[in-house]
């Protein structure tokens, strides 16, 4: 039933000697919403531009609906892009902007007008056809840009941080609207963002990028709950990273020790051998802090450094050895802990996820 709309095979690209993409591979099915998530400079925009044809990869292939389009010019690809700054043509009104690609294809005027009307009602901008882009608000421009790139019914729509310039409230609203549009039209979206919340909210699959590589490609829950690398754990789940060495394996539970104490985690199907180093990701809200603890109990030990309140959560920073910090968060404002308290950090074994160190320097 579903067919592959886009396939990237081992794409590499460098700009004046600096590698930007180091072998990116990706398959996107029809109707899928895939997000490329990463901080700026990770290569996500370059990936998008290669798919659009605005850049040529140094090596690797771009297949669109199974056809090799690596060397095809952007104007001959069935792919459209929503640019980061919208790139609306300032000298054309809304109608001319949206109808531009049909005009190029020499469609009759009445047909163009009809299509433009359809698109306008789709993005809820009916009645704005004669406005100039400069007379629109940020959110309206955004809609025009989307309408303009959807009018051709491309198989694939590329969106480069389309909501980056909008304020938080409008962002939330547009997120839902975009998702609705995508479901309705059944078009594959490749979406770029550096906002993990946005990615988790909207995507079918997320590709977390760093240094021109995919760190992990998976569903939002895979990426969030079972991060593969320390970077993904930090970037997507704001998790704490704990470094240690395996002490012993007891069935599916693994005990480890570190300079700050010891703990237990679930092996999640991996094999661990005593004595080998291990890196764990523990999300702040899943860690438990206790003030009274018995001597010799398991857990990491540290000193409360500071408390702060943000986003409905109380953040408690605990300092460990080697200038490391462990951030716990919990609901509510109340906590009897004060800076300077010695505390024990512990967690349920299944909440600590072993990750690769890939790309992250051990401090």
């Amino acid at each position: 039933m579903s067919k592959t709309v886009l396939e990237l095979q081992e794409i590499t690209k460098s700009f004046s000697g600096t590698p930007v993409l180091n072998g990116i591979s990706l398959k996107a099915e029809q109707g899928e919403f895939i997000t490329l998530l990463g901080s700026s400079g990770c290569g996500k925009t370059t990936t998008l531009r290669i798919i659009a044809g605005l850049e040529t990869p140094d090596s690797g292939r771009v297949l669109l609906s199974g056809k090799d389009m690596t060397d095809t010019e952007p104007n001959k690809r069935d792919v459209n892009t929503v640019f980061q700054n919208y790139a609306l043509f300032p000298h054309m009104n809304v109608e001319q902007n949206i109808g531009y690609s049909l005009k190029i294809r020499k469609r009759p005027k009445t047909e163009i007008r009809g299509e433009v009307q359809k698109m306008l009602s789709l993005v809820q901008l009916t009645g704005y056809e004669k406005r100039m882009p400069s007379e629109l608000s940020g959110g309206q421009r955004q809609r025009v840009a989307i309408a303009r790139s959807l009018i051709n019914r491309p198989q694939l729509l590329l969106l480069d941080e389309p909501l980056g310039a909008l304020d938080l409230q409008l962002r939330r609203q547009m997120q839902q609207e975009l998702k609705r549009l995508q479901k309705k039209l059944g078009i594959t979206f490749i979406y770029i963002t550096h906002d993990q919340e946005e990615a988790l909210n909207m995507s079918d699959r997320i590709a977390v990028m760093m240094d021109g590589r995919f760190q992990q490609l998976g569903t939002p829950s895979e990426v969030y709950d079972s991060p593969k690398t320390a970077y993904v754990a930090r970037f997507v789940g704001s998790a704490n990273i704990v470094y240690g060495a395996v002490e012993c394996v007891e069935g599916e539970l693994v005990r480890f020790t570190s300079t700050d104490g010891s703990g237990v985690f679930h092996c999640r199907g991996n094999r661990f051998e005593p004595g080998r180093p291990v890196t764990l990701a523990v999300r702040g809200e899943q860690a438990v802090l206790t003030k009274e603890f018995e001597k010799g109990s398991r857990g990491l030990f540290g000193t409360v450094k500071e408390k702060s309140f943000a986003g409905g959560m109380l953040r408690i920073a605990v300092s460990l050895h080697n200038d490391l910090e462990f951030i716990c968060s919990r609901h509510g404002i109340d906590s009897e802990l004060v800076p300077g308290d010695r505390v024990r950090i512990s967690w349920e074994p299944q909440n600590a996820c072993p990750v690769d160190l890939d790309g992250e320097e051990r401090i």
């Binding site: 952007p74 459209n80 790139a87 531009y100 190029i104 421009r141 303009r148």
Partner: protein, 270 residues
């Protein structure tokens, strides 16, 4: 506080007034009955009627306009294409050629005049309209080139990319997107070039032929040998034309809606 802010405005006003004094005097004496500009002997329009009988002056005017139009148009084409192309190509000679092409307005005009005179006679070109057009085009190009280049630098690259992405061929992108957005710069570059061309004396002196006169050359000769108020009348009419042109330019330049693009919402932050 108020007094302190007034003084500069007085300065601006006085200086502007002084700039207009010579021009107003020329206009005033065009209505003088007497032939001498030192005496005022009553209002008259006779110099205007005499002016309109002078065929040589109108021939010179025609030459000046033809020269200005052709030079600024060719400069418009060469300069615009050049400025656009230079952003695309990556030749080693690029910056050198760019530098040389703007030399005509960087070096004293007299050198340019001398150089053209020598070079054209080396080539054996007949001095006249052809040589005038070549020389004027040379110093018109930099105006268009520099203005268009400045505009290109400030232009959002993603606009052209968006058009390409929507299916326009590179040629189509140029005509649909790039050219319309460059138009204000091209027009003002060409207007500037045109103004320089119709006002040029120095270069024209050297490259014109015996039988080709331009208006500035004619006025120049007369100023050296002896002026009749006919020239005043002519100057008055030219000034009126300038005023009309300026008014027209101001009317055109009244920022059309699309020119004030992207006012409030900033670019997407990264």
């Amino acid at each position: 506080m108020k007094n302190r802010t007034k003084l500069p405005n007085v300065y601006l006003g006085v200086l502007l007034f002084l700039m207009y004094v010579p021009i107003f005097l020329v206009i005033l004496y065009s209505f003088n009955e007497s032939k001498l500009s030192s005496v005022w002997s009553g209002f008259s329009l006779k110099w205007y009627t005499e002016l309109f009988r002078d065929r040589a002056i109108f021939e010179a005017l025609g030459n000046t306009l033809i020269l200005g139009v052709i030079s600024s148009l060719s400069a418009g084409v060469i300069g615009t294409l050049g400025a656009f192309g230079m952003t695309k190509v990556n030749f080693k000679t690029k910056s050198a050629v760019e530098y040389v092409s703007t030399l005509p307005i960087m070096i004293p005009e007299i050198i340019l005049g001398m150089v053209f005179m020598a070079f054209f006679s080396l080539l054996g070109l007949p001095f006249g309209m052809t040589t005038l057009i070549l020389a004027h085009t040379a110093f018109c190009i930099p105006y268009v080139y520099m203005l268009v280049k400045a505009r290109l630098v400030g232009m959002d690259k993603s606009l052209a990319e968006a058009a390409l992405d929507l299916g326009a061929s590179p040629l189509r992108v140029f005509f649909d997107i790039t050219l319309p957005l460059l138009l204000p710069a091209i027009v003002s570059g060409m207007l500037l070039a045109f103004a320089m061309s119709i006002d040029d004396v120095i270069i024209s002196v050297f490259v014109t032929g015996v039988n080709t006169n331009t208006l500035p050359l004619k006025i120049y000769t007369q100023l050296k040998t002896g002026v009749t108020p006919k020239i005043n009348a002519l100057c008055t009419l030219m000034f009126a034309a300038t005023l009309l042109l300026c008014g027209f330019a101001a009317f055109l330049g009244r920022t059309p809606k699309h020119k004030k693009q992207e006012p409030e919402s900033g670019r997407a932050g990264r």
